[in-house]
Subunit: 224 residues, 2 copies
């Protein structure tokens, strides 16, 4: 018997769930929506929805992201697929989880095109328990994001196009949850060669004005 010809029940559903991160108040936050209906009525959940028949998983994730926040063209990456048969009490629902990074100047203060209540929560202090297995999904997303920080400078995905190195450092500190040494941080960012100094600077209140940078490396990162 060919493995592809084995049959299965017809009751699977596939969703995408998007862990949408932003930085607000120098803190890493996630967008959650409050469920208005059972199961888990009243609990907060990671936004998501069903994959439509003619769209790829990436397209479904981008569509959901747009519907929830209105943003496009942001960092979005597949995370992991969760398929425990008990994860949704209504039936078999397999969800492909994604995570997205949205800069605060593009993230709506209170998001959600759906009528459902939606708001940003500190990623480290979400209203427990979240619906379904969403606590596990969030934990996985945080782990991945922190992992990426150690060998990339992905933080600028959470900043406006022009940013200062102090802002970038604050983003990294917010995600890692620990202070970083300023000189070492700048050395590392410089070594990665992924940000480019602009000919502008800004001063925000008191203090010496800061050099502005933008994404875009000097050299093709690690070209051999």
């Amino acid at each position: 018997m060919n493995p592809r010809s084995r049959s299965s029940s017809d009751h699977e559903r596939v969703t995408v769930d998007i862990v949408i991160f932003t930085i607000r108040d120098t803190e890493l936050q996630v967008l959650l929506v409050r469920r208005g209906i059972a199961p888990f009525e009243g609990n907060w959940a990671i936004p998501g929805g069903f994959v439509l028949p003619k769209e790829s998983l990436d397209e479904a994730a981008r569509r959901e992201l747009r519907e929830e926040t209105g943003v496009e063209d942001v960092f979005l990456e597949q995370l992991y697929t969760f398929g425990d048969p008990e994860r949704d009490p209504r039936g078999r629902v397999i969800t492909v989880a994604y995570y997205a990074l949205v800069s605060p100047d593009r993230a709506p203060p209170l998001a959600g095109s759906d009528a459902a209540e939606a708001r940003w929560w500190p990623a480290a202090h979400t209203p427990a328990p979240l619906a379904f297995d969403h606590d596990a999904i969030l934990a996985t997303a945080l782990e991945r994001l922190r992992g990426k920080l150690t060998y990339t400078a992905i933080g600028f995905e959470l900043l406006p196009k022009k940013f200062t190195l102090s802002q970038l450092q604050r983003v990294h500190e917010a995600i890692l949850g620990e202070p970083l040494d300023k000189r070492n941080f700048r050395k590392r960012v410089d070594a990665l060669g992924v940000v480019r100094p602009l000919k502008e600077s800004v001063n925000s209140g008191a203090g010496r004005p800061a050099q502005l940078f933008s994404f875009g490396g000097r050299k093709p990162a690690n070209a051999k």
Copy 2:
């Protein structure tokens, strides 16, 4: 409208596909099955099958692995989920890809409990093109496996319980496709602290007998 209540068509199917690696003839090989029916009749494919209603994705992957090779309790990890709507001409099939590492003493020489023809192929030289998007899945698996080698010593998952450091090095060389320095390799494996010397040694033909090792670190790897 609550995101979870959005509806979708009923024609999704979810499969798991398992990229099963082994080492044969000091070469990294993958198990492929030849398709006996359309689509892609005659092409080789990564083994897989539908997820059953009451099993988790991991369980489905373990079951498929057992059915194809008879082995249990081997390294198995979720890889990525592929869901392009055109990937299967028969309809919407979303596949959660896994990869497994099977030691050659446990891997059947010619595997496949299904009647389908099955055999091992050199991972670097599979009969192109594979069915569906399986070339992309295999490429993703290879990338992940190589990535892991640079910061773990996962190679022993591809060896019998007792092995020599030379064997382990040959495994790493087979996966990376390049020779490694013997002294540096042993230094690194030692530093990882994940293998333990046994009180036995073996001699294989001519040459000095080799110390046997087994998996199991001296110290809890990187305990803080």
